[in-house]
Symmetry: C2
Subunit: 196 residues, 2 copies
């Protein structure tokens, strides 16, 4: 069971929360992206889903007729990113990360297997990126995996400076609907044919 | 909890089985496709994954330091198909179905939301299909969603005749590695530009 993991409590709470009241508090980046994707699907604009949380199921109780009940299971490390789908014939693949620092994003927040996955997406002609939110200032940026990988290969640093992110990234604005219209940035990326 | 479901026992056993001995028995279609996808990834040929089984988590025990333990959870109905990914810049999206009948495939084995999802994939420029295995004869066919939808719209029937599947589908051969080289059929489909 070497690939079982401990999620930080906040993440587990997000997974467990089925219906969350959005009143009187800010939404997480993940909630914003999920609402945005629902909007895109309802408008036939794109078909992008969050993958289910991978769970290792050990025991199931079939006694109750109404619904099989899982009585023992563990969280597994995802082998890919959380989001993928199709937009105008393009394959999109990305992850979202919140960052509580002000002037940089620590690379350790991206797992090694996620970096490898994003590289593979690029190699197969997909559009690979991260959406990073600086929670202190509530700014969200879309950053191409290509740019992140270039930066990491040319530098010894263990974090992406905010200044660099402002320069290379696409700033995403919070709206009512869609919450975070990241496909606008993807449109620019496709126009510039700049994704791989 | 209206979207919680009862899986047939066999499916749950497949989900639970982590390491399965393949000796002395045939593999399920799902096992064949999973092995094929692992092969494609290892050969940098394509990046296609099975999505995790969607689970509604109700209770988690954090007592043990080593790993959070899920103590109550339920299976949810998937809102999409089981497989998606990218191949040569194309978005692929499909499901796999085993059929124990000899002369036809019953449409009820495809859920309504899966049909809707495959339609949406086509509309967004992806390649949408099913892989159907007739278990009695161990024949597997790749069938484009486009062809299935055309057939259903022009007929009152509740099943796809085997004869029609033989005519419209791409017969997939079982090999050692990759087990079921369905990308060969996808190559033909791309050549014929025939997927939407």
């Amino acid at each position: 069971m070497s690939n079982l993991i401990n999620y930080p409590n906040r993440k587990v709470k997000n997974i467990i929360a089925k219906k969350t009241s959005f009143a009187n508090r800010g939404m997480t980046l993940e909630e914003d992206i999920n609402l945005t994707n629902e909007y895109y699907i309802s408008q036939n604009k794109a078909l992008i889903y969050k993958k289910p949380t991978p769970v290792q199921i050990v025991n199931v109780d079939f006694k109750k007729r109404s619904s099989a009940r899982i009585t023992e299971a563990y969280f597994k490390t995802p082998s890919t990113t959380d989001y993928n789908g199709v937009y105008q014939g393009f394959y999109l693949d990305f992850d979202v990360k919140e960052c509580s620092l002000i002037s940089s994003f620590p690379i350790r927040q991206i797992h090694k297997h996620q970096i490898d996955h994003l590289k593979a997406v690029m190699a197969h002609g997909g559009i690979a990126f991260l959406i990073i939110r600086f929670t202190k200032t509530n700014e969200s940026y879309l950053l191409l995996a290509k740019d992140i990988l270039n930066y990491l290969s040319s530098s010894e640093t263990k974090s992406l400076p905010k200044k660099w992110i402002e320069e290379k990234g696409y700033l995403l604005k919070i709206n009512f609907n869609p919450r975070l219209d990241y496909l606008k940035a993807v449109d620019l990326i496709i126009q510039e044919n700049n994704y791989a």
